[in-house]
Symmetry: C2
Subunit: 454 residues, 2 copies
Amino acid sequence: MEEIVDYVQNNISTFQDELKEFLKIPSISMLPEYKDDINRCAAYVANILKNAGMSRVEIFKTEGHPLVYGEWLGAPGKPIVLIYGHYDVQPVDPIELWETPPFEPVIKNGKIYARGTTDDKGQIFMHFKSVESFFKVDGSLPLNVKFIIEGEEETGSQNLESFINKNSEILKCDAVIISDTALFDKGVPTLTYGLRGLSYMEVEVSGPKADLHSGTYGGAVGNPINILAGMIAKLHDKNGRINIPHFYDDVLKITSKEKENFRRLKFSERKFAAEAGVRLLEGEKGYTTLQRIWARPSLDCNGICGGFTGKGAKTVITTKASAKISMRLVPNQDPNKISNLFKKYIKRIAPKSVKVEVRNLHGAFPVLTPLDNLATIAAAKAMEKAFNKKIVYMREGGSVPIVTVFSKKLNVPVVLMGLGLNSENLHSPNEHFDLNHFRLGILSSAYFMKEFSL
Amino acid sequence: MEEIVDYVQNNISTFQDELKEFLKIPSISMLPEYKDDINRCAAYVANILKNAGMSRVEIFKTEGHPLVYGEWLGAPGKPIVLIYGHYDVQPVDPIELWETPPFEPVIKNGKIYARGTTDDKGQIFMHFKSVESFFKVDGSLPLNVKFIIEGEEETGSQNLESFINKNSEILKCDAVIISDTALFDKGVPTLTYGLRGLSYMEVEVSGPKADLHSGTYGGAVGNPINILAGMIAKLHDKNGRINIPHFYDDVLKITSKEKENFRRLKFSERKFAAEAGVRLLEGEKGYTTLQRIWARPSLDCNGICGGFTGKGAKTVITTKASAKISMRLVPNQDPNKISNLFKKYIKRIAPKSVKVEVRNLHGAFPVLTPLDNLATIAAAKAMEKAFNKKIVYMREGGSVPIVTVFSKKLNVPVVLMGLGLNSENLHSPNEHFDLNHFRLGILSSAYFMKEFSL
């Protein structure tokens, strides 16, 4: 392994330059006007995989954006690891808050800034480079590798499940490894064993057929904005608990052993608040911040609009108001069941004076994986070697919807070896990725291939 | 008067054509990009007044949009009537809901469609044409007339009060007449003796410094949208009463005599709901619809925005959410006092985890005028003659902020002789004005000048 490590260390600045080229492609999956860039990005990934040494590379068309598959199966008898990641990125709004343009990567103070750096282009690039390093140094890999890099993660991986269903044979493997989560803290080797799920809804309240003058009608007709606000307010009780009947029915209680583990982690509330840019943390009564974000469900309005929002004072009662409302779920909540409970509750509390529509935009199952499988053990050893520090096990508040699909369909352990940081502005302006973690990620990936091959 | 009436009847289609030209000017006072059109419109009004026969016409610059003054004082010993109106119009959003373009007037089924038809270009045009008819037929007016036509009514008449203060000498008069309100019903001669006031506020809630990933932070930080919705929900109680402490302190109770008057009016709840385009009316418990819109205060969100409002599902906790919230006031509520109560209450219920700013965008005093003055008596007779029907006295839910200023500063009766209909989509798409009312309005104006001169 020494030669591999040396090769990575010696070529790290070339790897960074190559990553920059990858980041320049604005592969925003959510916005139809970037369709060409998405296709260009898929082709670009296919090319990287070929150059890295994969023996078979294929771009699969889906009903949405294409999916890139790569494999090298030249180590018969050795395990097969499937590496999953995504080449698509989030939209860049609000664009005016970016200090440098989102698709013109810049390195500042050991960090690379661009949309997609930490989520997820920078992280999948680590595996591309670890594979390449093995081929360059040894001419082969210590085990068999498959890559599946999709272009729809940021829009809910709508076509990945059907792809997996159709192609379970070529996806056969002994473990899945995903680098799309965060380290517990800077420089701390971390494996994530829990993820929250998601239920993302949209509520639209329709009232008058045309905008009304608020003088003529104010006080006598239901106002869609006030009504929507009232319904949103009813989604939480005064203790910060979610108010939807039966919402907590399937929530797994946090064990005292896990509470103890959370407590032992060096978590600073002050640092977390500073990273979030808020003056004060708040949440469900009776739980710590780590419990709230890792092991308790939450509900947030992600967007709201209605009526006159320009400058000045227009006195209208508007026709429609709508909100995007998403819930983070924890084991053993089922996103389909939760979406239905949400819908039912909203319909129940909706006044008769308006029409209320509820749409389910997407969902993901929560995840809690056991730690005693060979892949996780190998990953822990690998990261400890790369970082030269003891591994930390954590949960994570976000969702990687596809984890459940992999673990259920392929029936193998899914290892979450994320090298990002939650402070790296994923999904918001000035997204960045620590270049030291980028290097340690390449090494962790390489050590893992070695460890898991033994 | 017979000749005047004949002249109006014979020239009505010319008057309509002239009105169309006036309506073509997009004099939207709220949007800075229409500044040139506003100036063009002021010049256009000045020209109409000159052509109508005014002996002195002047465009006064203000800190905002110009104000057009016209006078004819050729009837010494006779009363002076001051006619107020506005040449500015509301914005046209949502433009896609207009069946014909807002600044290309079209006549359909006896109605003229365009922005500003009923509010207020069509209505001030009635007085222009009544004056012109007198000059054409008699070569003079039966009394002295002053016009004051402003360009900032739709943005709160910010500069009119200081103009009145500076020019109280030239504004001296015996009565003010304003046609910017509605008839009680189609073909019913109506004088309005009460108006609601207004307090228009803006609330902005600021949380995280940058958009946050709702997975990573959801459940542990205050969400500006949820918090704003919660505060809006707290503005009403479950009986539809406004929840702000001391809000009702100065509200004048509706007398049993007035209740009886309201009851006697031929008001159809079903028709009102149909005009509003709602399936069901709702409002403060214990009051009828007419009481709610005429004599009880109300609170409406006029607009709200925050977070991701595009297509799809972006999982952010946003930095800011804001709402425009306005209250309609009734005698004897004071908009300044109410704005302060609102501000105080919002600040009190705002959670400490966010920053909340409250701005007062504008205000207007409510109005309740006595009916026993000479001008009102003349106006009632005039309308009865024009319509050949008994006059109806009503209140109105909207505000004409300048009425209080006129009555307080000039200390004369203000007569609200509106010829619009509340169903004519003022402030919303497809605004229109009944052309029969347009004709009856010209006649009412002419009869008034005659009656008030006696």
